[in-house]
Structure formats: C-alpha cells, structure tokens
Symmetry: C2
Subunit: 431 residues, 2 copies
Amino acid sequence: MKSINVGILGFGTVGSGVVKILRDKKAFLTEKTGMEINVKSICDKDITSKRNVSVEKSLLTRDASDIINDPQIDILVELMGGVEPAAGYITEALNKGKNIVTANKALLAQEGQRLFTLSRDRGKSIYFEASVGAGIPIIKALREGLIANKFNSIYGILNGTSNFVLSRMSADNCSFAKALQEAKDKGFAESNPSLDIDGIDSAHKLILLAYLCFGRYVDIKDVYIEGISRVSSADISYALELGFQIKLLAVVKKEGDALEVRVHPAFIPKQNLLASVNGVNNAICASCDLVGELLFYGPGAGQFSAASAVVADIVDLTQDIKAGLFRPAFNIVADKSIKRLRKADEFESRYYIRLTAVDRPGVLAKISGVLAKYGISIASVTQKQRMKAQVVPIVMVIHEAREKELRAALNVIDHMDAIKERSVVIRIEDV
Amino acid sequence: MKSINVGILGFGTVGSGVVKILRDKKAFLTEKTGMEINVKSICDKDITSKRNVSVEKSLLTRDASDIINDPQIDILVELMGGVEPAAGYITEALNKGKNIVTANKALLAQEGQRLFTLSRDRGKSIYFEASVGAGIPIIKALREGLIANKFNSIYGILNGTSNFVLSRMSADNCSFAKALQEAKDKGFAESNPSLDIDGIDSAHKLILLAYLCFGRYVDIKDVYIEGISRVSSADISYALELGFQIKLLAVVKKEGDALEVRVHPAFIPKQNLLASVNGVNNAICASCDLVGELLFYGPGAGQFSAASAVVADIVDLTQDIKAGLFRPAFNIVADKSIKRLRKADEFESRYYIRLTAVDRPGVLAKISGVLAKYGISIASVTQKQRMKAQVVPIVMVIHEAREKELRAALNVIDHMDAIKERSVVIRIEDV
C-alpha cells in the first residue's frame, strides 16, 4: 500500500487535533482511502508543553526547514496562523514540490493570489477547507459540488465569536461587554478579540468565498468592514420587537456589472434561517443560477471541527498524489461580467436607525424633513419613552435607500442641537 | 485537450436539463476542468417531443445498446427512473467498462449493493449526487468532506412534495387534500403521488444516506415507514399551539449496538432549523463525532437543481478518468459497532396523541389509567371543546416512552366505548 507522509507546522489546538485524528483513526482512514497517512514531522516553537495527543520526541522539531527540506514529506500542513513566517514556509514548500493544506484565512486573504498562482505553476495544490466554517465542507461544496453554477450572492455568518456575543445579547438582553467577557471565559474569544469583533476575520473568509464563487481576489482594503462593538442591547431589543435578529453578516453579491463585498451587523427577518443561527455556529447561504438558494450550517470553531476539515483535505490530496493528478482541475474562473467593485456609497438596503434626541416638540418633524430632503422615505418611527427624562431614543425603519444619501442625511441630523449621540445605523437584509 | 464522451439514458426533465447545461456552459466547464465534455448520444423511448434544448437528430436513439456498446462513450448517465430496465443497462455498462452517473434513488435503494460491488470489481465508479436532495451537494459532503467522521445520526426532510403539502397545511390551515391538489397543480406531485406522500421516496433516499454514513445497506422492508396522509389540519393547528411544526422526517440513528431507520411525520420544536424548512426544500441534519451538528439545506427538486448535481458528478468523473484514478477511494466502511437493526417496538420518543372521545365525565380518568398501567406518563393534556356537541378531541403530549408500551396502551384505549376514532400518534423529535 502506498503511504503518504505529512509534515505539520503548528502544534497548537488544531494541529494537535489533526495529529490525534490521524493516529486514532488511522485504520479507519486507511480502509476508506486505500492509503496510509503518516505524520512524519511536527514543527512548533514550543515542543515541550503537553498536548491532548502524545507523540514520539523524534517527530518534533523547532525548525520548519526540517519539514520543508524533507523529500519524503508529500504534504505540508500549515496550522501556525498569521501571515509570516507561514507564507514564506508555504512558498518554499511549493518550490520543493510539496502540496499544501492550510487553515489560515488571514494568510490566504493577503497572500492567496500569489500562492495559488505559484501552486499552479508548480503543479501542486493548496487546499484550505478549514479556513472557512471550520468543519462545514463549504469550500468543497462551492468548488466541486456546485461547479456548474454561476453565483449571485453569498451571505454568511462566518465568525463564531461575534455570533456567540450577539446570540448572548439577544437571548439574555445582556450588554456587549458582558457577552464578550463570557466568550472569553469560555475560550471562544482571544484575549485580544479585535479580529473577530471588528469583522476582520469575517472579511478574510469572505475574500476566500468571493474568490471561489466569482473568481476575483478582493483586496481587504476594498471590503467594507464594520464590527459589532457599537451594537447595544437597546438595538437588540428593538430588533426583536420589529421581528429581526441582529447578526454579523458577510456579503458578497453581484449587482449588475459590480461586485459588492461587505461585512457588517445586519437585521435579519426572524423567519429567515440565518436568523436562527446561534452561538458559535456559522452558516453560509449561497444563491446560484442552477440550484437556487442553499444553506450550509455547523460549528464554525472548535479543535476537532477544524481538524476534520484539515484531514479531509489531506485525504483528497492523497488521492491526487496516488493518481499523479493535479486538481486545479477545479480552476477558479473569473466571472467576466464583473467589471468593478461597488463602493459603499452605492449599497442599497432598508435600514434601522436609532437616534438619541431631546424630547421636545418638533424634533421628529425636523428629522423627517432632513430625510425627505435626501429622498429617504420612512417606513416606521417610534419615539420610545424613557424614565431618565429629557433624552429619548427614536427608532426608525426606512425604506430602501442608497448609502450615500442616507449618510448625507444622517450627517445633517447628527449635527442637530436636539441630537445627543451619534446615530446608530444597521442595514436590514432581506436575504 | 482530452475530451470525455457522455451518453444519456432518459431525455426527460432532468436529462434535458443536463444536456442544456453541458451545452450552454461548455466553455465555462472546460475552463474549470481542463477537459471537454461532449454529449455523444441520448436515448429515450420518445425522441420526437420538443424539449427546452434542441439537439441534432443524429444524437438521438431509442436503443440503449447504442450507448452501452459504444466504446467511445466513457460515462453513462442514467436518468430514466424506475428499477428496470435501468438496473440492467447499468450492469451492462459497468461490464463494458463505463463509469456511471445516476439520479435514481429507487434503483439504488433496491439494487445498489449489487451494483456498487460490481462497480468496484470493474474498477469503475457509480456517482449519485442527484439522488438525494437534488442540487444540495450532500453526498459529496458526507462521503468526502466529512470523511474523517463517524456518524451518530442523520435527520432529513428528503421529499419536496410532502414538505410542500405540510407547509401549505401549516401556513393556511388547509386540508391535506387541498394542499396535495395544489402540489399537483404546480407540477410538484405526480398524478399518483403515493411514492412521495407515503414516505417511500424518503425511505429510498434514507437507505442511501444510511449506506454512506454507517456502511450498511438496509432493505426497504426493514425501514419503518409512515406517510403523511393521516395528518389532519387539526394536528397541524395543535402542533403550532404547542410550539411545533409537523414535518415528514427521515431518520437513521445509532442507538447502542443498533441502527434505527425510519420515516414518519414528526413534531419538530419550532426553534429547530428543520422546523423552518418550508415548501419543496429539503434539509439534511447530520450529527458526527468530530464536527458535531451540521445542516445542509436547499431545493430538493427542480430540473436544474438535479441537473446541477448530475453535471458535478460528470465533472468529478472526468478528473478520475483523466488520472486513471478509481475513487472508491472513498470506500464505504461498515460501522462495526452496529450489530442489528432496531425494531419499531424499541423506538423511544415523546409523543403527541390526539383522541376523539365522547364528552362525558370520567373518560379522561379512564384514558390516564390505561396509560399509567403501561408506565406512560402524561406531560400535558387538553380537552378541546367543539361546537358539534358530544364528541371532543383530547390532545396529549406524553413523556419519553417506548413504542411497544405506547402501542399496547393505545390498542386498549382505541377499543374503549368512549373513543370514536382511531387515535392519531405523532412522534416528537428533539433533533
């Protein structure tokens, strides 16, 4: 039987999960694939701490070149995270004729275009199932299962930590700070959770989905990104009252000849499946020409969820290697009808707006007047009474409007004497 | 460039959809796969009716052997439906060294084990993505994406017609007959919709999922099957009142050393994602050891949804053929911890029960007494008042019970003088 040697860079949570699966399920995987998969070498800067899998000392190294330069290693599995030195190691490994498996969305969002080109030139593959939605086999579904389709849009809940925080706020009406602390206590959020909470991690994943579905590598500076830190428990309650759930949504969508790529909190109608995605779960809703609307749902984080995806990639590569097959087979094809990226100014949607205003006659009339001047039409408005006297929240839902006009109107409104805080604006997505 | 010739058996809805995609998207698919896919021959007993794709007359034949015996045809695509003569044609084609793509769940449920064994012996593949969930890439996800996982259970809404009927009944509180007529009018249901409504089609698909996930081919006579024709609009209303939706559920589930395989209507808690699957959509909820709970959702029917899956299978085969690779690669491995199939008597769940009783004192006490005698404990009971005097519905929810005791108790209750109709029993599934 042919055996395949794997070298692993990064012996952290996911790395040790992968090693554990490849060892505990060795016979099972061999029976399924007809190949033997061996972990030949593991590199980490820390090779002394105990993991939940024990390995012979001889497999461990602190020097990545022990893997990169080992001609017996067929597949390099990169699970270090971060852009450098990971990108450099992958480059070297491709040049040495290795296939790559990675879970590193930050790296692929930044260096992917170069690395995919290099891998094609070298006749090798980079597989990256674990980089989006952890164990949900979304990459395979989009790349292979839906290969005959052209895509209209992808709407995703791609960050487990943010979704956990918003779900907690919604279920218990607790504050953002309290929900985030709970996420940290449970080990979902990093001590510096900015990548998650500020939407950056979702944007990295979205860039990969946009590449797969539309064949276009979008620079992160061209992604409109807004995090969830300004979402208050008041917004969550108003959302529920109005029949919505708030989710951090990642959207890539074709509109005419333009592609819209954005990450931001959004009101989702509660009857929509995405509104029921709670906790650290992820979901990806794809709309495509032949099949229509599909949804893929599952845990977006977790040691074995991500490791399951990494192992599936390794298995796919074993088959490619056995066959001498190079599978960009599943070439990414650019959607030639897309000529440009849409600027945030052009986005159109319905909106939820929360203003904090002095409670005196005529304020609402003034606000409505400004909106009307910019051609923005109000669907509903509620002036909430509060105990603390003079300052009241005004909650509005407005009909479909263009971001440009809305921002201009709010700029005027936010400078009115009667307005005491910057307005909160959340898009309403009728996914 | 290498080109692959495809022969298609069955030029009906899905067949013509496949031909249309392979023609309209030829350049797109060639760019993606590096291979040219040609439709070389199409066989149907009707080769004169107009389809939504026009093909040269020279491609059409009424004789399947024109395809089976053509050595230039690499892939036989079987879209005729029914067990025979399709099974015979596939057998011959495998013997002639062709790979197979089929959407035929009835055939695979009955003849699959023999055909898969034959295909392995011949070193050829049978791909069948379109047979479950149409365009949802569920087969690929279970077989490849989740290859490292062991499965605990699959819960599926697998039949679009039944789900359409139940959704209509629930949304408009209309009768079963009216909802079914609407399904027929819209072209979702056959003029004889028994396969759909009686749960047979769901059972066929469930047999394939059980095979993929547990490595065991279950005979249809060992599947517990109950259709939706006894579900009344009264049950639908009570379900909503109690916080549930009724769905035709297909379940395969490991319980200790046994496998439970069943299709029946079920109450699903309304906060569960499966409860929100409406219309002709399908959903498959998989629970597995590494990833946890996943859900796959999308249109379970439709010409291009099914055709999308068939084309994805063809594309996968082109790659296998190019590489000379035989991919039972993704061997089905039997879960050796499963020793037997569970009998319906052993099923355990909570239950909804609706009785039709004479409205007189003491009836409820008698019923409760019978249930108690069989060790069955009532969670809630409501005696609904009706205008039409003496006969009233009694709606009960009972705690977890074994089917055997429940059936015995209901057998006694149904024979009581005060009971005027056979009891309606629907399982409550806390998926």
